[in-house]
Amino acid sequence: MADLTAVLASTHHPFYLKATTDHSEQRMPHADEWQRKVEAYRETLTAARPDVLIMVGADHFHQFFLDNYPTFLIGKQEKYDATFYNEEREFGIPKYVLDGDMELSNYMHQGLLDAGFDFSFSHELKIDHSIICPIITVRPDADLPIVPIYTNIFAPPMPSPKRFWDLGRAIRGIIDAYPSDKKIAAIGTGHLSLELGGPRMFGDHGPDPEFDARAIEWLSTGNIDSVLENVTHESMASAGNATHGFMDLILMMGIAGPREADYVDQLDLFHTREMFMTWYPNKTEALAAAAASAAESSGASLGPVYAAKDGVSA
């Protein structure tokens, strides 16, 4: 059976590449720390030695629009082009061509149907920055085949947080049953509190630091009960109008299961708080050592991070 060697859940920030390759006088003050944290986080994936990546993201109205918007979709291709013109324009993200894994895409798709998730599918999917950002941050050589899974976190009405958790659990079951000796890593990105186009965007911090601290606690403790008690479409909207991307992080926690994370890091940037979390479902000494060495350079925690009583991370 396949070996799920790592589950990564992080925020995606499309300006990471631009910010950290800017060596002009305008280089943002956080760039060095940001880069150090991202490169340390990358080590938590590298150590898991994956052969293939299951990648969870969301199309930001690049390929899909309101004439035909998929709630859940899987890509089924030998190759994937990536990065749209307006992402190059706005973020300076380069184009990529990634390999696919048809066998795992097909197996995953059938498994999802069997589990009651009637997925849409695409044979001409172009990948956007929700998947390319983590390629840039944790696998910059872009040398592994991917199986892309897209969710709707943009266009209401959206599925419930519970449904994202359940989907994560279903994906985990399918990975565990996959008859292959491959090592699989699951990588998904989303957001903590996020505001786009409203009064709280581009502030000195994310729009709701208290939500962010609680969210990191929920995820890093594997506390799905608290998530389901506290996270609704309304509570996410009040944390910031684009906070629904948090549901993709709930999905990733679903893949990991209700258990503590093995690596938890964060960075308070202007506009957002960034989060970098890894679970090792079958933790070995080598993986634990890799996480510890990464944490030495990043300052990450090797276990749960709790919100202080006032809501901000302790």
Partner: protein, 121 residues
């Protein structure tokens, strides 16, 4: 009224560098041209016969009026990326990095702590 049609305009302009340039140079003329060439088509062969703008929608798009679009519930992601593409560089050169975005946030301050208009259709 058609929130969908407003979103369709923003979506299809934003993804095409030629439309972006035309919309910046001549918003009113570009909206007319877009309706004929793109807005009323489902694909290159099939017409969509029933979509049109109201006067208010057309005016908001002609004036890049994000305050109106926000209040109307057009999808924030669509006009944020497009308008940043149109104006960010000019503003950054004249008033510093992120000045366009920060002025935008400031002008929407009256919405703070209120329920925002829904982007649902």
């Amino acid at each position: 009224m058609s929130k969908y049609y407003v979103n369709k305009f923003l979506y299809s302009i934003d993804r095409d560098p030629e439309w972006v340039a035309r919309y910046k140079d001549d918003p009113a003329g570009t909206i007319d041209a877009w309706e004929k060439e793109c807005g009323t088509w489902l694909n290159s062969a099939e017409k969509t016969t029933w979509l049109s703008f109201t006067a208010e929608e057309r005016h908001a798009l002609e004036t890049y009026d994000y305050e109106w679009l926000f209040a109307y519930g057009a999808h924030f992601f669509l006009y944020l990326t497009l308008f940043i593409g149109l104006f960010d560089e000019d503003w950054a050169r004249e008033q510093g990095p992120l000045s366009y975005q920060r002025e935008w946030a400031r002008r929407l301050e009256p919405w703070t702590h209120k329920d925002y208009p829904s982007v649902a259709l």
